[in-house]
């Protein structure tokens, strides 16, 4: 007698439960972002200045590092930690410009084959040993010998010699010009390692488990390593002997590892200061509306793009590629797949690397008529079912290959729908990341593929993505393109390089081996109490380094001059345009109370109902 009733009741109950939870998660707040730092910000005019000292910064972090050797393999979870512990020769600031780090100055020969770096003289490792040229030499030779992750990008196979002119002058000589070297040295996998710890004969390589620094890293950075509990947290403390006088401002940094997006967001609100785990994008307005939380958005050099398979007859046809590009409405993709969080990709290179970006080389704009016109002229007739067919009668179907994420799920559906409008059928195949890389990059088993990637820090990235090597997704092969790219990589003259990269982008716009889709929205999420992040101090602080971060809450005792600065962010278009009146966050507790009340009432009602029925 009870089964159907149970089922009904349970369904009702579950519905209420799910409703209350989703309402909770959605926050029931209007989609509106507070103006960044509305109350004005206190600026450190000088990178070496702490208006207030002390405090612990709790960073909610997304994953476990693979090891504490930051140069061996690509290790995204290590990077935010390594940036505090180690230094590079030069580094990138928040605008992707190269700024000094361990090297206070450098010279590049006109043909970009000789690089001279002058090191700072007051740098000590965390164990007290001074840093010298020996450490730099060891690091780069180890990268070459043990195939560090950056070895390929740095072209270390062309490295003829790295010599110490004196303790504080390093000279790199390459057998061929190597212009992208400086940008790549500033980017990834190039932290300087302590020679006196790593370089011992009993170690087989730099990942030998016997090396103590692999579990307890020793660096030169603003923070020293204290403790790491796998899966739980990493603790760092201030390095009192840091070479930048007066820094860091903080006492401690704690990286708390919370990989789950929703849990990380809640942990951040409850007890965190900085959120590194990417929250669901649609939660950003809610986070921004949370009192005491700042969400700062900006464009990044990471880009989603659609690649054509240049090895297949159909997609090798340039007119066909243009037809697809005309059929894609990228604004529609941005709003439907990314809820508007991002930027419609402009140009064939990323605008955020501004010196190399060519605004004249643009992909085609959305134009259904042109798309249909081209497809008709190519002989693809529309059949009775609305789909186009080859002249021999088989249906025109494109195989779209990509990997599983929420964005790609949505994006591929939108693309399928858009191409349906010009009569092209799309079969979607979403794999896991490893399988995708194998199928798409190596086997080239696709018609069109969607992926994302970092296009900086140097436009040489264009050669990597469309020239030689295993990362050429479309399988594009154009001798003229390769020649120009090699020329650009072998000259030290920046304005000449710029001209060459501009022509490369023009070639890409004419040939269209890919369609740029969406530029990824970058965002910093942190508590308003904190200030002095990389984006507050462009040109002074390296990307993601917390050396100048300090707390307004600690300011009470020391009066300082307060200046209001305009945030230096100039997104190409505001990600969230529908700025309505910010609603106060009465939200969460009320919703919860309501939900609990409803549940209780339902339970009582159900109980009474059953009781009466039985009577």
């Amino acid at each position: 007698m009870t089964l159907t009733k149970h089922v009904k009741l349970a369904c009702l109950f579950l519905l209420i439960l799910i409703f209350s939870v989703t309402a909770e998660i959605a926050g029931l707040t209007a989609l509106s972002l507070k103006n960044d730092l509305t109350n004005g910000s206190i600026s450190q005019t000088d990178g070496g200045f702490c208006p207030a000292k002390g405090g612990t910064l709790v960073v909610i972090h997304f994953g476990d590092p693979k090891s504490f050797n930051p140069d061996a393999v690509a290790d995204d979870p290590l990077y935010p930690v390594a940036s505090q512990i180690f230094n590079k020769l030069v580094t990138l600031d928040a605008n992707y410009n190269v700024i000094p780090d361990l090297a206070e100055s450098w010279e590049v020969s006109p043909n970009a084959s000789v690089y001279v770096f002058h090191l700072r003289k007051n740098v000590k490792w965390h164990d007290g040993v001074p840093l010298t040229c020996k450490d730099v030499k060891y690091t780069f030779l180890a990268m070459k010998n043990f195939t560090g992750v950056a070895a390929g990008l740095l072209n270390l196979n062309l490295l003829k010699s790295v010599e110490c002119q004196d303790d504080y002058t390093v000279v790199f000589k390459f057998s061929q010009p190597n212009a992208p070297f400086l940008s790549f040295v500033a980017w990834y996998g190039t932290f300087i390692l302590p020679e006196h710890i790593y370089n011992k004969t009993e170690y087989t390589n730099w990942m030998d488990p016997k090396i103590p620094a692999l579990s307890k890293p020793v660096g030169t950075g603003p923070f020293k390593f204290v403790e790491y509990v796998k899966g739980s947290h990493i603790i760092l403390e201030a390095n009192k002997d840091y070479f930048k006088e007066g820094l860091p401002c903080l006492d401690r940094i704690v990286f708390k590892i919370v990989p789950d997006a929703v849990a990380a967001e809640q942990t951040f609100i409850a007890e965190g200061d900085v959120l590194l785990t990417t929250p669901p994008l649609t939660d950003l307005p809610k986070l921004n509306a949370t009192p005491g939380v700042v969400v700062r958005t900006y464009p990044t050099p990471s880009r989603w793009f659609l690649a054509f398979n240049m090895l297949r007859d159909l997609t090798r046809n340039k007119d066909f590629r243009f037809a697809i590009a005309y059929a894609l409405n990228r604004t529609d993709i941005l709003y439907r797949a990314f809820s508007g969080f991002g930027f419609v990709a402009k140009g064939m290179y990323v605008p955020s690397i501004s010196w190399a970006y060519n605004p004249n080389a643009q992909p085609p704009e959305f134009n259904l008529e042109k798309a249909n016109q081209i497809l008709n002229s190519l002989g693809f007739k529309v059949g009775s079912d609305g789909f186009r067919t080859y002249p021999n009668g088989t249906r025109l179907t494109l195989k779209l290959v990509s990997f599983q994420t929420a964005e790609i799920n949505a994006m591929s559906q939108v693309i399928k729908e858009q191409l349906r409008k010009v009569g092209i059928d799309v079969s979607i195949e979403l794999l896991d990341l490893g399988t995708f890389q194998q199928k798409a990059y190596r086997e080239k088993n696709f018609d069109i593929a969607i992926t994302d990637g970092f296009w900086g820090p140097d436009p040489h990235n264009l050669y990597l993505r469309f020239g030689g090597g295993g990362h050429n997704l479309p399988g594009y092969n154009n001798t003229q393109f390769n020649d120009l790219a090699m020329k650009a990589a072998t000259t030290g003259d920046t304005s000449r390089r710029k001209d060459l990269y501009w022509s490369l982008q023009e070639i890409l716009a004419q040939e269209l081996p890919i369609v740029p889709l969406i530029d990824v929205l970058g965002f910093d999420v942190y508590k308003a109490e904190w200030i002095g992040f990389d984006r507050d101090l462009p040109g002074k602080v390296g990307l993601g380094v917390y050396e100048a971060v300090w707390s307004k809450a600690k300011l009470t005792t020391t009066p300082v001059s307060i200046t209001t600065t305009q945030t230096s962010i100039s997104p190409t278009s505001s990600p969230i345009t529908s700025t309505t009146q910010p609603t106060p966050t009465e939200g969460i507790t009320t919703t919860a109370t309501l939900a609990v009340l409803v549940i209780v009432i339902v339970i009582i009602a159900a109980a009474v109902f059953m009781y009466i029925r039985k009577k």
Binding site: A10, A74, G152, K230, H233, Q266, Q438, F454, H471
Partner: protein, 328 residues
Amino acid sequence: MSLVRHTSKKIAQGFFVIIISISIIFFLINLAPGDPIQFVAGDPIFLSKELVDYYRKMWGLDKPLYERFLIYLSNVFLRGDLGYSYRYSAPVIELIKERLPVTLLLTVVSNVLAFILGVALGLYASRKYTKLSDNLLSLVSFILNSTPTFLLGIVLMLAFSIHLKIFPVSGLIDVRNPKTGFMYYFDILYHSVLPIATLTFVLLPMYFKVVRDTALQQLGEDYVILCRAIGLDEGRIFKKHIFRNSILPPITLFMLQLGYSVAGAAITETVFGWPGVGRLLLDAIYQRDYPVILGVYLLVSISIVALSIIADLVYTILDPRIKTGGAS
């Protein structure tokens, strides 16, 4: 005597089961698409030929599959060496050892809690069959059973950590103000309340249902009617007879669950940022960290085999009717 023979036979069988299951998994993960080297490089623009060759050679992936299989088996069973993790460049055995206590705290405690609560509530519900309390309990267990783990975890987190602020949101310890000594362990316990509660609620309905249904079945048996006819007190019938006869199925379940508990509870661990074996395994699968996947599965198969042997022994004690060595 026959018990010893029976058990040693079971152990020998178990050994074969372990070898077979580990072989299946070895070939399965190696035949699955994807390549661990892709994950060393992250973004494909890092993938140079030198890098690929270097790591292939270092990990022995340049050798043919059958050769790698023989090397792996001899390393594991002759030298007790589970190999090195590709991702962490650390011995697999160390990685598992670090995380196992944390995982066992979570899984064993919640299994025991779910077992005890499930049996008690199941018996209670069967006694109150079709009464209000039975209906309510069945309803709740139905809902819990159909609620996904992550949803339940997040609901509990929102209710008790975010709104009521009784428990911490996630993690193993309070990293802002680390504790020492006794308070350190108390802190871990405090942080484990919600994850344990989540997992308990997830496991509970299974025990509840099994016990309730078995007890109801027992209620219709002749011996219960006889007991009632004699005029035995209902409470005594339940305590003495129905309880003993309804306890065997949940014990089987309990042992089976306990066998899996070394593999952790990946979803609960992920939701609560709990550094357990489940998360280790999940990450290893995503990143094609073959040695870690194999290591964890080896551990799981060993523990399942061991617990099924123990379960056999426990049966003979609980139910004298089960003859050891005989046909079941």
